[in-house]
Assembly symmetry: none
Amino acid sequence: MKLEKVYSYIDANKQEFVNDLVRLVRQPSVSARGEGIQECAKIVEEMMKNAGLSTLIIPEAQGNPVVYGEVKSKSSQKTLLFYDHYDVQPPEPLEEWMCDPYSGEIRDGKIYGRGVSDNKGNIVSRLKAVQAFQETTGDVPVNVKFVVEGEEEVGSPHLAPVIQKHKDLFSADAAIWEFGGTDRKGRPIIYLGLKGVLSVELRAKGASRDVHSANAPLIPNPAWRLVWALNCLKNEKDEIIIHGFHDDVEPPSADEMKYIEKIPFEEEEEKKDLGLTEFLQNVSGLEAVKALLYHPTCTINGFLTGYTDTGSKTVLPNKAMAKLDFRLVPRQKPEDILKKLREHLKNLGFDDIEIISHGSTEPVKTPINDSFVQTVIKTAERVYAKPAVVYPTSAGSGPMHLFRNWLGYPVISVGCAHAESRGHAPNENITLEGFIKGTKFIAAILQDFSAS
Amino acid sequence: MKLEKVYSYIDANKQEFVNDLVRLVRQPSVSARGEGIQECAKIVEEMMKNAGLSTLIIPEAQGNPVVYGEVKSKSSQKTLLFYDHYDVQPPEPLEEWMCDPYSGEIRDGKIYGRGVSDNKGNIVSRLKAVQAFQETTGDVPVNVKFVVEGEEEVGSPHLAPVIQKHKDLFSADAAIWEFGGTDRKGRPIIYLGLKGVLSVELRAKGASRDVHSANAPLIPNPAWRLVWALNCLKNEKDEIIIHGFHDDVEPPSADEMKYIEKIPFEEEEEKKDLGLTEFLQNVSGLEAVKALLYHPTCTINGFLTGYTDTGSKTVLPNKAMAKLDFRLVPRQKPEDILKKLREHLKNLGFDDIEIISHGSTEPVKTPINDSFVQTVIKTAERVYAKPAVVYPTSAGSGPMHLFRNWLGYPVISVGCAHAESRGHAPNENITLEGFIKGTKFIAAILQDFSAS
């Protein structure tokens, strides 16, 4: 059987696969500060070529290049598209890493490094699955397309125009999204949707320069203004109190609830792992899962003002800044939420607070009864020999709506991470075993999709 | 008359006085970074000896040396103590100086340099007044003591134990404090008190590490906790709402109001200088002066959490920190306010917020009807031939309470600066005229105090 040969190839060449992944991890590619972007895009293109794809770098006037690759099948008309991103989150706080975040260091069967789980491991894994077919069969089971962008971690601000301009290039019958993995029991996880996200920065200004804090009875303090403004967005019960924010929020459907009830949620392990005694509002069990997947959020990502070094300084700062993200659920629209945020702060007297949008994506979902979804669930359960865990939607975000909502095909997210991969955090890692198994899973999806 | 001879000596020797001041200014002495401290202390001691004082360097195990000097009067039992400091603020930003901050350059009748106004001009001026008496009369009108410390600009963290250990050395009948000068109209300013200050740091903790903000429905965010906690300390009307905070706050007395009403306050210049259209709560005139002198404050000096670089990062931080200072008015005690802060946050459910004290000083005031105060007011009005401007207290802070509250004598602050002396800022300066007039003022205080 074809797939057995492909699996043998993967096993025989896994050291080469790991070496490629380490090489990709060693190349910093922080989109938030434009670090190593062009260099990383070139490596991805080179790896695509090595996997037998023809490539195209789509340069973006204002953004980071999108690396596109494709290979035609000699035996199928179907097309499967892979969406990935070569950019990574900033590695800070550096002091909490046990190794250089750009080392790709291997310890106890795990590869460590910024982006190894999100999402460089999947880039390499997917390309290697294609390469394995090419090398062992001289063909791919279906037409394959790769879209590897460089701005996912900053909200994919320039992907929409690329897709509008190159609709044919991105046409497909189905797509595999960038993230996923196995749970603590080794069960494969399948995600069918994403929350939307709206990232904003709030800025407050005071006097034309910092002054001595003895002047506090008379001089406005932008740090206080920002504290008070933030306090009007979410209350101490963690309820978002922006007027109209919840207007379009929907509870899970009955169909979705059937899958949600089966989602294993190792809450004690989660809490222990994070050093917590309870979750917010003390939710647990099914309520916790529903909150995670179906509740919109408002999160302070950062806040900076004044003197923050050791000891004290009697300064009254003249500027303050906070960064926030809002996670949105289906039917909430980022532009509507931004408008409601502006109106809310204005109505409460905070029109001195400047609101800057750092980009957004829409919430998105593929229905559970879609045939591609059902195929991938079966494939997953065969490859991992365990029941699949299906999330009708997920807590994360990304530009999936551009493919699912604009181009109209089903989009499913799977990958080779594990329960403690620590995406976006220090000591991000994947296991070598998960990386290789994930590569076989992708190979099996290619095969099963061609036969479905 | 004695004082005429003394004035003549001052006029005849002013070039020598200026040379000594320039020498002292040329010696950097930045306590914030331990620059030139020992060297400067030695110059001060040498200048004390030249003025006829016996001296003692009080070395501090953890801090900078205190330079002590004294001379006994042959004709009086009374003792006047001068409190000064030889340390200075860092001179930065250097590019805004029109000369080297350690040049002591003289231009258009002004001496420029870091520390010339705060407080090296006063050190030299006061020593020269003593020297003038010694040289012309062979005596001083009263016993004179000098305490010149080296840590005022960093909050005098080690002065209290020095005073506890050397109470006899610092005993006196009255003291002259380190700062003061004339207003824009050349009127002598007399300060009778200081606010206290309590510096604290609030820390909130969340999970054991930063997590992806997709987890926001379940994972506590210390940034929100800190925002909500701060919001419970001061409301949007700038009212401090810590339970019991205002218990010991007193309005100005009728006696004080008579002086406060005469305080000139150039508010339009102040606002223009700071780029403001109005002060907090739109106060102006007498209300602004009362607020500045009599309102306790709660100021956010700094706030740091999460990602604060350019762009956005979808992170949920695991720690947040804010630095605050409280300016306190007479009868408020720093330890009591710290206790009330702790209780307030605890009672509102914020016992997860850690509170760290970064030190404090007590508020302090000498009553207007004190006979030494009345003597100095009369002396000032005679020497400057203009009405004195009397501040019953002031907006700043310092270790005055160690002398006034612990040792129990009246303390008054006067000096030889002027309205544009720019203490703590680039192009710090005093006028040659103000320096010499200030020296005569000190001589006159010595004489009048002995006769009072």
